[in-house]
Symmetry: C2
Subunit: 103 residues, 2 copies
DNA sequence: TTCAAATATTAAATTTTTTTAATATTTAAT
DNA sequence: ATTAAATATTAAAAAAATTTAATATTTGAA
């Protein structure tokens, strides 16, 4: 019931959209939550714990990595993933841009 | 670099996901922004201003209405849409749940 | 070096989402 | 009553996302 008068240029909109899309999938949210819970964790632990296919896990991790939502680094045979909270923060801000001071 | 220890149950995750999906589309974001800008507006104005098909507009409006992101009321031949900021707020909180105090 | 474990990539199959295009509904005016 | 404007619904077509299943890459260990 309260106007926002958001200034939301095309670029920002694109970025917001891409970020949200990278998050808006049930499996990805589960993976993300799991990583969040564990701080830093490797792919094996992720897909064993969540009981999802290795390949699927890898593919979803890639989508989120490309969106910048998670970071990865290799240590020997293992690749460790962690959340890039700065970028998740940006997703939040994107949504926030639609918000009134109300509610 | 900062753990969150979010408590994020399955239900919340489902809800968050659905909300984000309802937002994560370029056209829907454009429509949403336009409604936000105008406070309350009818379908005609939306699709004429944004130069999108009437049918497409209607369908995207429906998706957002079902997700609760926007509200509608009819006044004669016109249907007026407005943003449900409370629900958008919930989308923001959903994303926020992944956030550390960092950043 | 060969082998196996961990992860990534790929292509095809499947599923879901989106668009197109046509038709239906609702309401106000004639 | 008919008609026209505003919006919604629907079904089929098209496009995009996801899964499956197989293969490739990387690395450490035997």
């Amino acid at each position: 019931m309260n106007k926002t008068k958001v200034v939301f240029n095309a670029e920002k909109l694109e970025t917001s959209c891409e970020l949200m899309r990278a998050l808006a999938h049930p499996l990805r949210l589960r993976i993300l939550e799991f990583i969040d819970r564990n701080g830093t964790i490797n792919v094996n632990k992720i897909y064993h714990s969540l009981k999802i296919e290795q390949s699927i896990t890898s593919q979803h991790l890639k989508i989120m990595r490309l969106a910048g939502v998670i970071d990865a680094y290799r240590e020997g045979k293992f690749v460790h993933y962690s959340i890039n909270y700065d970028v998740v923060k940006r997703a939040e801000i994107a949504v926030n841009n639609f918000l009134a001071k109300s509610a």
